[in-house]
């Protein structure tokens, strides 16, 4: 019973990790950019959902649509900056832009909402009871959203023309360019898409997550862990690895002690890198 409960909690938490990581794997694989601000956009989405609910009483689920437009615009601008700096200064230039954005979003959220943790308590859409274990619908919706996004992206990348262009770019940008694929546009689309997914993920997890401005860093790290375990560029890998880390987290917290939740995935990933340091070269 206790085990089943932990398993379900782990799966739900893992779905959130997967959702954050799907965009990250896309941006590393296709965009060839390790966007350090990825988690910060999740944090931005969380506070967007929070503010919309607290200030205008709009349900986070209704906020999703305007958030989509907002993050698409922001994402395109950010992709443009990455592209410019990347061309001029190279990899370190992109790293700096990512770090700078992370700090900037963090700082802005801190000024606007202070450092105190907040939570969005008003959104309650009931809960589902499975063999005596009650699961809040808010978390279920997030999990369903994860699978929808992952499935949608998978189909898009596998079947559409645009998806083929993305896969070609991921494999070899130069050759893809020679075949007439507009590589800069494809890469910008990938960055934009990843930021949109990150922002929407933030909005959808806002009802059941503790909101802190620095959550961006935590999300970045878990996304990185998931991507390394799941393999760069693989949506299915990101989902599986996310669920696995979620379950490990939840078991560690349930059977050991609460601080293991944060520690366990970090140790797993460090141990993994120590054994196979060459796994993650993009």
């Amino acid at each position: 019973m206790y085990f089943a409960q932990l398993l379900i909690l782990g799966l739900l938490a893992g779905a959130v990790l997967s959702l954050v990581a799907i965009g990250f794997t896309l941006v590393i694989g296709v965009g060839k950019i390790a966007n350090f601000a990825h988690g910060a956009f999740v944090a931005g989405g969380m506070y967007l959902g929070y503010e919309a609910y607290v200030a205008w009483h709009i349900s986070p689920y209704l906020t999703l649509l305007p958030a989509l437009a907002f993050f698409a615009l922001v994402g395109w601008a950010v992709a443009e900056v990455f592209e410019q700096r990347g061309r001029k200064v190279g990899e370190v230039g992109e790293l700096l832009v990512g770090l700078a954005l992370l700090l900037l979003i963090n700082g802005l959220l801190e000024v606007a909402f202070t450092d105190n943790p907040r939570s969005l308590t008003g959104v309650n859409i009931g809960s589902l009871s499975v063999t005596g274990i009650s699961i809040p619908w808010t978390e279920l919706v997030a999990a369903i959203f994860t699978f929808a996004v992952a499935g949608g992206l998978h189909v898009l990348v596998r079947t559409s023309r645009w998806g083929r262009a993305m896969r070609a770019t991921a494999e070899d940008p130069v050759v893809a360019g020679l075949q007439g694929i507009r590589v800069p546009i494809v890469q910008r689309m990938a960055v934009t898409l990843s930021i949109v997914v990150a922002g929407l993920a933030g909005v959808i997890i806002a009802p059941f997550t503790v909101l802190t401005p620095s959550a961006g860093t935590t999300f970045l790290i878990s996304a990185f862990a998931v991507v390394v375990l799941g393999g760069i560029g693989s949506t299915a890998g990101a989902v599986l690895a996310g669920l696995a880390i979620g379950i490990i987290d939840s078991m560690a917290a349930g059977y050991l002690s609460s601080y293991w939740t944060t520690l366990a995935p970090l140790l797993i990933i460090l141990g993994y890198l120590l054994i196979r340091p060459n796994r993650v070269t993009t």
């Binding site: 700090l103 802005l108 970090l266």
Partner: protein
């Protein structure tokens, strides 16, 4: 000044500048009010951490976000040893780097072996930095999330390093800064420094003449960790406290990098210059905004954004470039031959002269008119 004295002054420009900074800083520390002392302590503390980052990044291009961890090692070593065994923090200044190096070893093994350049090392070291807080909380003797408070003896002596006056800490940090910058200046021209440059710029060529790449990369990482530790010792004594939040809080994490990169990546003076400017600016903004807690981190962030977009070389780097441009490229006796040779590639002969004529040069028409 005679020619000989001038030549000597040019030759020992670095050490002389360090000496001047030390003397001026020492005098300033004794003369300013309490608020300025607080700013100076912070600035000098950040600059040591930044220097440690800069040393590693400049030597090998390893972008380490784990430096705050080694600073924290310093803080914890000092307070723990003092509280438990009564060991003076002055001794901890030397013990902490050793412990930092031991802790850095496994991290260095991952960070220096991983392929994929600066971005991946940055992510891996970020994981280390994030893992440090829960680890510290998990180790019971280190005080958990609250941390450790230094015991205060009834009559603190010099050996307890507990001064009521912040200015004393400014002086200690100043000396450490000057020593570390001096160390780096020496290192650059030492055998190890040259090996390191070789490993960074041409690993295959270095290996072929017998430089042990892996060992050099590993030891530079360890040295950088050792440089960071003393900052933690002094900062913990200044606060009489060591805690995860003090060293590894969300805002504390990135300040070293910002300070180093804004000041100028890979330059011995970079972190000190960047740190003084940024700390002062963020204090001003914080005052101006009426003490909003988020104002200082936001200032850091905005400065960092400006730097990442406009001056990727940082302040020191940009300054060097300006000096380079203004320096007359032609010596009067050698004339245009030297002009062609000394100009930067692509500039073409006469570029220096053109720049002079373009109005940067009210300085010296006589040089171009040879």
């Amino acid at each position: 000044m005679t020619n000989r004295a001038a030549a000597l002054a040019t030759r020992y420009r670095g050490p002389l500048a360090l000496l001047a900074v030390l003397v001026v800083g020492w005098l300033v520390a004794g003369a300013v009010d309490a608020t300025t002392v607080t700013i100076l302590v912070l600035a000098l503390y950040y600059s040591i951490g930044g220097l440690s980052f800069n040393f590693l990044y400049g030597s090998l291009g390893i972008f380490s976000l784990a430096q705050p961890v080694f600073v924290a090692v310093g803080g914890y070593t000092s307070i723990y040893l003092y509280n438990t065994y009564g060991i003076s923090p002055w001794l901890s200044l030397f013990i902490a780097p050793v412990i930092a190096a031991i802790i850095a070893l496994p991290i260095a093994l991952v960070a220096t072996r991983i392929g994929g350049g600066a971005v991946l090392t940055a992510l891996v070291t970020l994981i280390v930095a994030e893992a440090a807080t829960p680890l510290l909380i998990a180790i019971k003797p280190l005080g958990g999330a609250i941390g450790l408070y230094a015991k205060s003896p009834p009559n603190p002596t010099f050996w307890d390093m507990q001064f009521a006056n912040g200015a004393d800490f400014v002086k200690i940090l100043l000396v450490i800064n000057v020593l570390l910058i001096g160390f780096w200046m020496w290192w650059r021209h030492s055998k190890y420094g040259l090996f390191t440059t070789a490993v960074k710029d041409a690993p295959e060529a270095a290996a072929s003449v017998g430089v042990a790449n892996a060992r050099i990369r590993l030891s530079v990482f360890l040295v950088a960790a050792m440089l960071a530790a003393p900052a933690g010792v002094v900062y913990a004594q200044y606060n009489l406290l060591t805690s995860p939040d003090l060293f590894l809080g969300a805002t504390a994490m990135f300040q070293f990098i910002v300070v180093a990169l804004v000041g100028g990546a890979a330059r011995p003076w970079g972190a000190l210059v960047g740190s003084l400017i940024i700390t002062w600016l963020s204090q001003e903004v914080s005052n101006w905004s009426g003490g909003n807690a988020g104002a200082a981190p936001l200032t850091f962030a905005v400065i960092f954004v400006i730097m990442a977009l406009i001056v990727p070389r940082g302040i020191s780097g940009t300054w060097e470039r300006i000096v380079e441009r203004r320096r007359p490229k032609v010596s009067a006796s050698l004339g245009p031959i030297a002009a062609g040779r000394s100009a930067a590639p692509g500039d073409g002969p006469g570029a220096a002269a053109r720049r002079e004529a373009d109005g940067e040069g009210v300085t010296s028409p006589r040089i171009t008119a040879t």
